[in-house]
């Protein structure tokens, strides 16, 4: 069975400092992993995806994530936070062999706040 755990429900950082949003997963197969961002009253937007190519994945807006199989982690990072990064972030795991839509599992989300 698949699952995804976002370790922090809320992260607050100062503008210009690094961001780390943590995600751990479990999967019976080689997973595909995604990070999505949701701004207030907006739809979910894909930040980046991992699909068994390079373990370090670069996404939009300066975000990146590293797939670490030994740690079953897919943490999201950004070197320098911007006020516009304030939003809800979701880690998503999908069965590597896409056999069922119900195996796309969303984490519970991490709310990122940016202090001026």
């Amino acid at each position: 069975a698949q699952s995804v755990t976002q370790l922090d429900s809320h992260v607050s950082v100062s503008e210009g400092t690094p961001v780390l949003l943590r995600c751990n997963y479990s999967s019976s197969y080689s997973p595909s992993l995604f990070w999505y961002v949701q701004h207030p009253n907006k739809g979910l937007q894909l930040l980046l995806k991992y699909t068994s190519a390079a373990t370090l994945v670069k996404g939009i807006n300066g975000f990146e994530a590293e797939f670490k199989k030994s740690e079953t982690s897919f943490h999201l990072t950004k070197p320098s936070a911007h006020m516009s990064d304030a939003a809800e972030y979701f880690c998503v795991v999908s069965d590597g062999v896409y056999s069922s839509a119900s195996k796309i599992i969303f984490g519970s989300g991490t709310r990122l706040s940016i202090r001026p």
Binding site: S32, Y36, K42, G43, L44, L46, K49, T51, A101, F106
Partner: protein, 113 residues
């Protein structure tokens, strides 16, 4: 527009009323998903279509929930005899098949009073 479009944006229903939520996916996307997102939670899977075929409806919480996609494009999620616990944002997403990223609409916020 090129994105997933959902309507209405907001819906207020009295308990017991029926509602219908519409989703226009991205043209050419064969896969269409419905999710329910309660306040402060991540999206929870409801149902999935590939073209007009509903391949997975294991996430529908009760038989009051029904979804269709008769011509393989626009989809409608219907909720009969709405209850307060149905209050949530209902998200629609579409994608190309086989592990492609999901493209989400802005959602319909349903409030049942």
């Amino acid at each position: 527009g090129a994105g997933v479009s959902q309507s209405p944006r907001y819906k207020v229903a009295k308990r017991g009323q029926d509602v219908a939520l519409r989703c226009d996916p991205i043209s050419g996307h064969v896969s269409l998903f419905w999710y329910q997102q309660a306040l402060g939670q991540g999206p929870e899977f409801l149902t999935y279509f590939q073209n007009e075929a509903q391949l997975d409806k294991s996430g529908l919480p009760s038989d009051r929930f029904f979804a269709e996609r008769p011509e393989g494009s626009v989809s409608t999620l219907k909720i009969q005899r709405t209850q307060q616990e149905d209050s949530a944002v209902y998200l629609c997403a579409s994608s190309l098949p086989v592990n492609s990223p999901l493209h989400f609409g802005n959602g319909t916020r349903l409030t049942v009073t």
